[in-house]
């Protein structure tokens, strides 16, 4: 069964304390892995697309990496405004997007 699992479910960091979020997947024929940020009461905001193992993408304090079985979203020196739920989604050859449950990140000043 195609599955996307994110860990941890929730993460509390102090401002400046770097960490990583994990997204593991069991999907046949990966067509892309996507990271989104979702603020409370809003729609997901697109962050990154990764297509192949070894690929990396960066945006400000965020860096996404991809292996054959998982992806990491690294957050360097986070700020309180980085607090949000981060969603990972995988698109397989069948075309449908499968979402993980998300990691709720809280960054305290």
């Amino acid at each position: 069964e195609d599955q996307v699992t994110q860990s941890p479910e929730a993460l509390r960091l102090q401002e400046g304390e770097s960490s990583s979020l994990n997204c593991s997947y069991t999907v046949s024929g990966l067509r892309g892995l996507f990271w989104y940020r979702q603020d409370p009461g809003k729609g997901p905001e697109f962050l990154f697309t990764l297509y192949s193992a070894g690929e990396e993408k960066e945006k400000e304090r965020l860096k996404a990496t991809l292996t054959k079985k998982e992806s990491f979203l690294h957050i360097t020196a986070p700020k309180p405004e980085d607090s949000a739920t981060y969603l990972c989604a995988v698109r397989w050859q069948g075309g449908k997007l499968i979402f993980g449950q998300g990691t709720e990140l809280s960054v305290k000043p």
Binding site: G32, F34, K42, F99
Partner: protein
């Protein structure tokens, strides 16, 4: 990317009534999607709406409950019919912008009493 708007942004409805949610995109797109996000949960795909054809529904979702229209390449509606409190969710419209990436609207927060 694509700019997507949804109406209404939120609504409170009575049990047994219906609500139609509108989704407008700033460019022509082939595929539009409707998702549901129940409280504290992740996104679940309801259906895929292609212009000029019937919507394709995912397992557990039926047309009588969630009828969808797709009259042109920039607009779609989702109706939540005969609502019950279990339908209280955020409903999200998204589009495939031709780059394998889906972009999402701001969502419609529905509360059913």
């Amino acid at each position: 990317s694509a700019v997507i708007s949804q109406k209404p942004s939120r609504d409170i409805c009575q049990r047994g009534t219906s609500l139609t949610i509108q989704c407008q995109v700033d460019s022509q797109v082939t595929m539009m999607f409707w998702y549901r996000q129940q409280p504290g949960q992740s996104l679940t795909l309801i259906a895929t709406a292609n212009q000029g054809s019937e919507a394709t529904y995912e397992s557990g979702f039926v047309i009588d409950k969630f009828p969808i229209s797709r009259p042109n390449l920039t607009f779609s509606t989702l109706t939540v019919s005969n609502m019950s409190p279990e339908d209280s969710s955020i409903y999200l419209c998204s589009v495939d912008a031709g780059t394998d990436t889906q972009y999402f609207g701001p969502g419609t927060r529905l509360t059913v009493l």
